[in-house]
């Protein structure tokens, strides 16, 4: 048996996202999809972020940071098998609003794919709960 066996490879509900510190893909997902009002399918997400949290593409650094922080401190709430392409984990990240919405703390549902037992999580999608 390998002495380098990573015992944190298995995702579990209630546990932190495996290899969350190595999570990636958030900025591009927000820029090209979840905060992009020109994407006809993604536009409701962008409108939701603006309406609920006053977060727009101008706030991408803020939201990106909040999601990466959530990836290392918030436990996984759901796991779906994605065979043969690994698994999909849901992490619900509390995000504080901006400007006039700064008094609101709203759950943002994030979905992460983990393609193999040693792969870092990559953001698949995100949306705020109204």
């Amino acid at each position: 048996m390998s002495e380098d066996l990573d015992t944190s490879t298995a995702a579990a509900v209630g546990e932190l996202l495996p290899r969350g510190a190595r999570a990636f893909g958030v900025r591009r997902k927000l820029e090209k999809y979840a905060l992009d009002i020109t994407n006809e399918v993604g536009a409701p997400k962008a409108c939701g972020f603006e309406r609920i949290l006053a977060i727009t593409l101008d706030d991408i650094d803020y939201l990106e940071g909040a999601i990466y922080t959530g990836a290392v401190v918030v436990p996984v709430s759901e796991i779906r098998d994605n065979a043969p392409w690994g698994i999909k984990c849901t992490v619900i990240v509390p995000v504080r609003g901006r400007d006039e919405k700064s008094g609101r703390l709203v759950d943002v549902t994030t979905a992460w794919e983990i393609r193999s037992s040693d792969a870092p999580p990559r953001l698949v999608t995100a949306f705020p709960t109204s």
């Binding site: 992009d36 006809e40 399918v41 993604g42 794919e113 999608t125």
Partner: protein
């Protein structure tokens, strides 16, 4: 002569189903013409997010690329 341009489908592109697709998160089917976004790319298969009117995820089936029609480019 008209020239047909075939777009390679990439992540974040908007696509439409060219035939019915089984739902991944529940029973039933998505009808032909349902639009979604490629949220993960597995080469000859794509994970497609179907989005509700408030931006929430309705479903994320993994679909063979030959059952998808390119709609708009965002990749």
């Amino acid at each position: 002569m008209a020239v047909s341009v075939k777009h390679a489908i990439g992540e974040h592109d908007v696509v439409a189903f060219i035939e019915t697709i089984a739902k991944a998160e529940s029973t039933g089917i998505w009808p032909t013409g349902t639009k979604g976004v490629v949220v993960s790319d597995f080469g000859d298969h794509k994970m497609i997010e179907i989005v509700g009117e408030n931006g929430e995820t309705l479903d994320m089936p993994i679909v063979p690329v030959d059952k998808l029609k390119f709609v708009t480019k965002h990749s």
